[in-house]
């Protein structure tokens, strides 16, 4: 082991861990995981961004911790160990959100707590962190968190812009539009429209990536 040349921190293989989930292996549009929170918290851009950040942090550090102790976890109780680690991190994130961005924390309500049950986290821990080294696991966690966050931010952008005419709380569509007869699309603020938007994103994504299309 020691005489083998050390792999550089950002080798092509490691970078792929980071960028793969953004496109070819996106947790939402390709693996169809984490849909529940993607529909629930994206009515506005700001909560969507905070949620994306929270999931990325939890995903990265839970991957790191589980990877560090992966050889000591008895396989029969591994799920409960994973849950303990994730729950501890989620509580930390929740407390930080309450302390610094209380209004957003209120809007996210139960969905921060529900990060514990987010399929993406359990999926990455089971599929990756249990069998890979800490640094790779950490990158994989960040990559998947960002892949999830990317879709959340796209959803939040369109839903807030078309549903409320604002972005990040600031008015984007000018008042003169409303006077000319433009009306905000109330359906954008309802979760079903988010599902339809996810569907459209998947549609566009697959028509650009023929390799993703099922036979």
């Amino acid at each position: 082991m020691s005489n083998k040349e050390k792999e550089p921190l950002f080798s092509a293989k490691n970078l792929k861990l980071l960028t793969g989930p953004l496109n070819q292996n996106n947790p939402i549009t390709v693996q169809i995981l984490g849909i529940c929170s993607a529909l629930a918290v994206t009515a506005k851009l700001k909560p969507a961004f905070v949620m994306a950040l929270s999931v990325t942090v939890v995903c990265a550090f839970s991957n790191l911790i589980i990877s560090l102790i992966r050889n000591t976890i008895p396989s029969r109780i591994r799920i409960i160990v994973q849950l303990v680690v994730v729950a501890a991190l989620v509580i930390l994130v929740d407390q930080i959100l309450k302390a610094y961005v209380y209004d957003v924390s209120k809007q996210l309500s139960v969905f921060v707590g529900l990060i514990i049950t987010n399929c993406i986290l359990m999926g990455r821990l089971e599929a990756f962190a249990l069998g890979n080294k800490p640094w790779q696991s950490f990158l994989d966690g960040i990559g998947n968190g960002m892949g999830y966050g990317l879709i959340l931010i796209i959803l939040g952008f369109f839903r807030e812009l078309l549903g409320a005419g604002t972005l990040w709380g600031y008015r984007i569509i000018p008042q003169s539009f409303y006077e000319a007869g433009y009306v905000n699309n109330g359906m954008m603020l309802l979760p079903p429209m988010a599902l339809i938007l996810v569907g459209i994103i998947i549609w566009i994504h697959r028509s650009k990536n023929k390799s993703l299309c099922e036979k």
């Binding site: 007869g181 009306v183 699309n185 109330g186 359906m187 954008m188 309802l190 339809i196 569907g199 549609w203």
Partner: protein
């Protein structure tokens, strides 16, 4: 006419394989088959010989819609002049006013819908299907007359792309496209398709309205009576008005009798299923009777047959529920499907005060359930026959 045929024959080679406009083959094909009976014949497989292809079917439905459309135009004018206090408005004056108001909605619906159909047909090298001929006529008929045109355009685009094209085009859709367009406006721009002001042209702008004229549909009047905790329902119109259709409402839905003429055409030509039509009415009436038995508030005590005359019930039963693509396919399934549509429509009306009209949501819901109903009907048939076979073999 002969010269048109000659002209088409002359330009036809351009659109065939190797021609210079080959890309636009499906567009050309759509226009040619729309104007003339196609001369191509099926060359392989089973041959069912019948003059009525998809195009003729759709055309009959459009004809069946005409009474409701023409009466709707007349009624738009009638309601408008009643609201303005013009007492001596003639039939033609009423009709002309309605014609001017309704025609733009029809044009927008057809231009947007057919435009999208043509684009998708070009991209996918399909033929342009005729399904939208009916949808494009149904969409204006389920809209309030004062709806902004850009909303109609957006709703039509939504219905055609998300409701139809993503599932593979005509014949593949899960939901009725026309109702999907209405549902889109209903949820996205609620104030423009509900309440009291939108059903009569000019009322939302408040131009010289007669004092005390509300513009509420009978269903809204019921909702208001419930909200005010009134001791009895009071209508500004009578069941005779509802039967004739001289009440405020969506453009095509008000007249029971005009819709029944359409129903007669559809049933006579065998295009719509009588099982569905009958069972929707039966279901609505049955649910009305059940509510009469419960009688917990004034709405539940309303005579059950009122439900069949009011709002979009008859229109939905005749033109929406019978859509052959989205309805159940088996005969038993059709009866269950229709009964449940009628029952849910009345249930939503009476129990949920937020939605005065339940027909749209009820049909869309049952559209989603139709494959499930068919599945169980087929399964039970298989079980029954297996049982019979086992008994026989013993």
């Amino acid at each position: 006419m002969k010269s048109l045929r000659n002209y088409i024959d002359k330009i036809k080679p351009n659109f065939e394989k190797g021609g210079k406009y080959e890309k636009f083959h499906s567009t050309f094909d759509a226009f040619e088959t729309f104007l003339y009976v196609p001369d191509t014949v099926t060359k392989a497989g089973s041959h069912i010989r019948d003059v009525i292809d998809l195009k003729r079917t759709m055309f009959v439905v459009v004809v069946a819609l005409l009474p409701a459309l023409l009466f709707g135009m007349y009624n738009v004018g009638l309601q408008h002049f009643a609201a303005m206090g013009v007492a001596d408005a003639g039939v033609m004056q009423c009709f002309w006013h309605g014609f001017v108001k309704v025609l733009p909605i029809i044009i927008v619906s057809y231009v947007v819908g057919l435009g999208i159909e043509f684009i998708f047909a070009q991209i996918r090298h399909h033929e342009v299907n005729e399904g939208f001929l009916v949808s494009g006529m149904l969409i204006p008929l389920v809209m309030p007359v004062d709806v902004p045109l850009w909303m109609v355009a957006l709703a039509t685009a939504f219905a055609v792309i998300i409701g139809k094209e993503v599932f593979g085009g005509t014949g593949m859709n899960v939901f009725n496209p026309a109702l999907l367009a209405r549902a889109f406006i209903f949820f996205a721009y609620t104030p423009y398709i509900s309440g009291e002001k939108v059903w009569i042209s000019g009322l939302s702008k408040g131009e010289g309205i007669v004092d005390g004229f509300s513009g509420a549909t009978p269903l809204t009047e019921i909702a208001n009576a419930l909200a005010d905790k009134a001791s009895a329902l009071s209508f500004s119109s009578t069941p005779i008005d509802w039967f004739l259709g001289t009440i405020p409402g969506s453009i095509g839905e008000t007249s029971f009798i005009a819709i029944m003429i359409g129903a007669a055409i559809l049933l006579f030509t065998g295009i719509a299923s009588w099982r569905i039509m009958l069972s929707v009415f039966a279901g609505g009436y049955l649910m009305g009777l059940i509510f009469n038995c419960i009688g917990a508030n004034i709405y539940m005590d309303m005579p059950a047959y009122y439900h069949l005359l009011l709002g979009g019930f008859a229109f939905g039963a005749v033109f929406m529920a019978t859509d052959p693509v989205t309805a159940a396919q088996t005969n038993t399934g059709k009866i269950i499907y229709g009964l449940l549509i009628g029952m849910f429509a009345v249930l939503i009306r009476v129990v949920n005060p937020g939605y005065p009209e339940g027909m749209m949501l009820s049909i869309l819901f049952m559209n989603a359930m139709a494959p499930l109903i068919d599945h169980y009907v087929v399964e039970s048939n298989i079980r029954r026959r297996m049982k019979r076979m086992n008994v026989a073999s013993k």
